[in-house]
Symmetry: C2
Subunit: 119 residues, 2 copies
Amino acid sequence: MEASSQPEFCSLFHHAVELVGRRWTGAVLNAILEGNHRYRAIRGAIPGLSDTMLAQRLRELEAEGLLERRVLDTSPVRVEYHLTQKGQALDRPLQALADWAEEWLAGDPERRVTARSGT
Amino acid sequence: MEASSQPEFCSLFHHAVELVGRRWTGAVLNAILEGNHRYRAIRGAIPGLSDTMLAQRLRELEAEGLLERRVLDTSPVRVEYHLTQKGQALDRPLQALADWAEEWLAGDPERRVTARSGT
């Protein structure tokens, strides 16, 4: 990695990696990147994710400026979650991580057994 | 993201993102990618990281097959930590995340104040 070692950079990197890696956050971002914008659709895309946890993660992502909660003026009112530019920009790192997982974890039989939402 | 939505893929991605995002893990991988191979050098590269936590993270990374602990036949014995191919392959996703952090978090004054190891 060519990144500089300055403390400020370190703290930014540190924040980014732990933000994305927070329990279920990667999965939630991924589900929205895949085109799920409504609460139920997002939850449906992530087996094992509870309502409490999803609500909490959505609030955190909104607070981080990654996610925008849109209340549509329909009847009944409809709520949608959309990634901001900042959130959409996470597509590249998440895709790189997905590629890594596919290349390096897919053949690992232990991972298949212990993985939480595996079949 | 173009990743498939199959449960097995989801579980692999889920594992990868939470592995990398585990507290301090990204920072430890980064420090080793930057060329720090000895325990003290790694610890020195990460302000705020305790001995207990570093030892635990190194063990986990070894168990995941990302890190190799080499005992060199010198006097006194010298121990070095090197990334395996699987670990080195994380360079791309981590770099992509670092780029994202630099682009999207660097200008955020709140982040500078709240960031743990910021100056």
